[in-house]
Amino acid sequence: MEPVLSVSEITSGYGASPIVKGVSIAAKAASTVVIVGPNGAGKSTLLKAVFGLLSIFSGKVYLKGEDVTGMPPERLVARGMGYVPQNRNVFPSLSVRENLEIGAYQTPKHTSERMERVYLMFPDLKKAMTRPAGTLSGGQRNMLAMGRALMSDPDVLLLDEPTAGLSPAYTKVVWEHIVRIAEIGKSVIVVEQNTTTALTSSDWGYVLVAGENRDQGSGPELLARPDIGKMFLGR
């Protein structure tokens, strides 16, 4: 099967010096891909570059077979890419419902059906529909941020540490949602620190170290590797 998103040897960074160097990843429809790696490895930078928030020095990004390298975020959203940043991922003064509506800005046609789908997936959000997002708990915010990104009905969803700061129990809940999002056909690419849960729940994993591809494999395979265990899991 053709990958929905294919990132080919991209180099990118904030100023002139590259942070991500020649990294390649690919993700298929209806699957979860996790990117793990030590703090500062360039995982967030990679997602930002793919989503058009940073300039790409070299390499290519293909979305559904089309070259979208360097395209700005609003156009990528219109073409089927969604992104949830790690921090500040909801509009605090907008209600939960308005946050979701903003997510549908580029694709307004089926807003109400999509909102029902998001509410079905995250019943907590439905209960808090009219509340300002700023009053939600950290976990609920991450749910809302995912819901917001789903409102454009993306083919590819990029999530930057969706479980950061959450309790182990809530982390499990979030991952259940991620798996369900993949089950409805999306390609979900997740950057994670909670490596065990992430690798257990994902179809494929990439290991990023110092801005470069170090390894890749199926989740269980990577988990079983002693060197990876030593690197991230303190085993």
Partner: protein
């Protein structure tokens, strides 16, 4: 005897107060239109436009041109002036301000740019229209008494315009897609962009609305003060800032309430103390608010 005198004095006090409230409502109406225009633009772009006062001046002079030179009705002149000022505001953002933003100029530079723009525009108006006092040729209309409050028909129209505009702004922000997009940008411009909000279009709209409200406010201000010079807007800018900051900068509903508060208090105070102290009173309110609630009195969380 004594009783009668006291009763008369008290009724006199009350009517003086109510007269002040009447004037206050008119000032608040002018101020609300102007303040919402300034605060909407700030909310979306996150920097203060110090040339905003001159947008009012431009509106007032354009309406003067339409009414006195082209002989149009004052309200039609007002509408045309507001539309033109909207266009000028949009153009100034695109041509003067955005090039600095594209080069990621620091906030201080933007501040200096809008202050420079303010001087340029005020002197521009003066060069074209001259420094002397101007006045619209309009009749204030019939006198309307509401209790002890005395309004001219014209003043009531101004209050009506303000109420209509505030309602429209409310509906826009609360119920339209683009209005919600404006509020999302006001909350977090980066996240708005990530979510697919077309930020250039929303920014354009913010400058258009801001210019429209400024132009319109300039005309009703000029009607209200009867005669004006090219310093009309810059003299009023401080009061606008007071209303905007009291309400919490960047928050349209706050600006409306701030305008009401500043308008009422300054005009009521003018009934009891010299009206030359109006600005001092506005300043006093501002300082008190900044001391106790620097985020503005009418705000809780979020920006708009």
């Amino acid at each position: 005897m004594e009783w009668n005198k006291r009763a008369r004095r008290e009724s006199c006090d009350v009517s003086l107060l109510l007269m002040g409230v009447g004037f206050g409502l008119i000032t608040a109406s002018v101020l609300a239109i102007a303040s919402v225009g300034l605060t909407l633009q700030f909310g979306v772009t996150n920097f203060v436009n110090f040339a905003y006062g001159e947008f009012l001046t431009i509106g007032a002079y354009l309406a003067y041109f339409f009414s006195a030179v082209a002989n149009l009705n004052i309200w039609l002149s007002m509408l045309l002036a507001a539309l033109l000022t909207a266009g000028i505001s949009w153009l100034i953002n695109r041509v003067v301000i955005q090039p600095f933003l594209k080069r990621k100029a620091p906030l201080l530079i933007l501040l200096v740019v809008t202050i420079g723009l303010s001087l340029f525009l005020e002197n521009g108006v003066q060069a074209i229209a001259g420094p002397s006092f101007q006045q619209y040729v309009t009749a204030p209309g019939a006198i309307v008494n509401i209790g002890p409050m005395i309004f001219t028909a014209q003043q009531l129209v101004i209050v009506g315009i303000a109420i209509v505009l505030m309602t429209v702004v409310h509906l826009l922000l609360k119920y339209t897609r683009i209005g919600k997009a404006m509020r999302s940008m006001s909350d977090d411009p980066d996240l708005a962009r990530i979510s697919g909000v077309p930020i250039q279009r929303v920014t354009d709209l913010a400058w258009l609305i801001s210019g429209f409200l400024a132009g319109l406010a300039g005309v009703v201000l000029a009607i209200n003060v009867t005669s004006f010079t090219p310093a009309l807007g810059s003299q009023f800018l401080f009061i606008i800032f007071a209303a905007v900051i009291v309400g919490g900068i960047g928050r349209p509903y706050g600006a409306m309430l701030g305008a009401l508060l500043i308008g009422l208090v300054t005009e009521v105070s003018a009934m009891y103390i010299d009206s030359a102290y109006k600005t001092v009173v506005a300043f006093a309110i501002l300082v008190i608010v900044l001391l106790f609630r620097p985020q503005g009195i009418f705000t809780s969380r979020g920006r708009v």
